[in-house]
Subunit: 408 residues, 2 copies
Amino acid sequence: MVQVNENYLKLKAGYLFPEIAKRVKLYSQSNKNAEIIKLGIGDVTEPLPRACIEAMGKALDDMGTTDGFRGYGPEQGYAWLREKISEHDFISRGCQISPEEIFVSDGSKCDSSNILDILGKDNSIAVTDPVYPVYVDSNVMTGRTGDALENGTYQGLTYLAINEANNFLPELPEKKVDILYLCFPNNPTGATINKEELKKWVDYALQNKSLILFDAAYEAFIQDNDIPHSIYEIEGAKDCAIEFRSFSKNAGFTGVRCAFTVIPKNLKGLSSTNEEIELWPLWNRRQSTKFNGVSYVVQKGAEAVYSLEGKKQVRGLIDFYMENAKIMKNKLQNSGYKVYGGDNAPYIWIKVPDQMTSWDFFDFLLQKVSVVGTPGSGFGLAGEGYFRLSAFNSRSNVIDAMERIINI
Amino acid sequence: MVQVNENYLKLKAGYLFPEIAKRVKLYSQSNKNAEIIKLGIGDVTEPLPRACIEAMGKALDDMGTTDGFRGYGPEQGYAWLREKISEHDFISRGCQISPEEIFVSDGSKCDSSNILDILGKDNSIAVTDPVYPVYVDSNVMTGRTGDALENGTYQGLTYLAINEANNFLPELPEKKVDILYLCFPNNPTGATINKEELKKWVDYALQNKSLILFDAAYEAFIQDNDIPHSIYEIEGAKDCAIEFRSFSKNAGFTGVRCAFTVIPKNLKGLSSTNEEIELWPLWNRRQSTKFNGVSYVVQKGAEAVYSLEGKKQVRGLIDFYMENAKIMKNKLQNSGYKVYGGDNAPYIWIKVPDQMTSWDFFDFLLQKVSVVGTPGSGFGLAGEGYFRLSAFNSRSNVIDAMERIINI
């Protein structure tokens, strides 16, 4: 009989967000008039930038004509989009990333889990704690961990705590680790890393011949000039890092679907016979074989992000959400909460009141004032005692939610 | 040092189509005035159906407003699309496939390779020969085969020949096989399978508790009433088969990207402790963790395929390409070629003239009359001596190409 991949059976039943949805549903069923404000899932709420809409509309017109019609595009993405990305996101910041090193995809969630396809099974792996659950689950599903322990961690993974004690910057692993996941600006804590700190990681990776998987999905929210937007701003990173980027949070593409991954040409791994193997051809082969490129219409929308109008409109969106974050942080701080993040990221990371767990605080906010956030423990053991609020919502909802919380 | 997945190193260097592209490029460089007609890659050429364009335009307008804006959608696809698919593609043909059993994705190429994620590594696997290369390569890349042999096949895979001798219908495997890939209407041969023949496969799978991966990407081209469009038209198939479907070839979505996969709820596999495990929750977990759904705008376009206007326009596209196929088949047959396929599929499968290999014939057509097709040997050992022509092109190009070939 056909056998299943039983690594899936190691996964704990509930992904975080379905559990939240379940509790919210239960609450709303018994509180029919409650006006629930959702600051849970990090999903954008503002309309798409006008420049993107217009470019997509034009692309759609193309598709209706014989001359303009586009069938299969390059699996790696259209050259005109990859060139814009290279120029505006990298060359302009002094990072020598060529269009060829950029692979356009339908999402960073896909890329950050699919990347494991081209890597060996026996690599040792480190993630931060708390962490974006997809990094962990994709490793579990592909048999790179042992079983789940009672505390929710998985055997075989190295967890690097990020908390108040280390100012939300993980410490370098004590043992040698082959693959390191880093996400800055951080989801869920909203913490950032400066060049000096990030250099320590690049140096560690170069010294140990490790690979850094750097998730920069939130780089557009960075306000301070000394915080790097790309890991390639650090010397040597092209020899040890892959970077994931997305149009989801800057241009509001969560429902449009476009992202990209950078695989530098000189990045190498090892075969079991100690031969050095370039990762670029492996990923290129993976994408050519298992992927068929991103919708032409969507890629035209992404291209418009780099137009003069597009840039201005994206800036407007970022400013809007960051003003939300500022309002949230100020209100909560003034009300006595200990609050982190929110300065260079759209997430507010609250220390929950003493004697409460993260889920207690979740239920407390939901029951008392109909506000939904995300329990920190849902992102890992070290997230216990924290709570994430997302700045993605309308101004009036954000103000309303804060008034409700501080008036409990 | 980080280790690579060295199964990738087993892959033979060139995927078929890049090799074709290389030869065409060389030819056009030294024959600057040649008007090349491409009947190689199976990519559509006609504009998108008007109903799809309009629905996508409307969805785009939604995305520009606060009320209409959509962020993350369900990873499985929107309910309104899954309901339409269930009703029009399955219930209407007597197949009890519910919306919940349908997973919307960005392509069948992705789904037919990603499906291996949820299946064990030690399953025995059979593919037809010739075959769509993705089935084979995705197995190689995930370590389910041995090395490539000199003849281009991979150790550990069972190859089931389809050729003139068996009327392009593979024979049941002699040994027990856990996973069977079937594609009907067939790419590349254009062959079809009737209900009686398909029932033999379902019975084999039920008896051996095997899983059939049924690729029905070309079902819309079926003209004969007794040929099944879905494997679920065969009794028992819900207990042994997964089906892949696509909007690429019926509505011309190759550049738009939308497809779907059917995972019946009662379909089961085995754990190593002989426990029966349902595949549906595994795939649901895979998609929730590693995928973020298809663009809202694209799903609205796919939904329009099922409107009255959409159906009419899709029928028009199919009729157009099938008329191309008919013209090609007639012209070539009248000119003395042995020709298969083309009656219920957009592919013409030509027996190449004696003493020529598939690649000889490729070079012959390119050099003599600037027509590009696909060498049968590119699809597998048993494809040697055959040649695929695609009916996806303008009427004038098709007629022109045929005139050129028959006048050589």
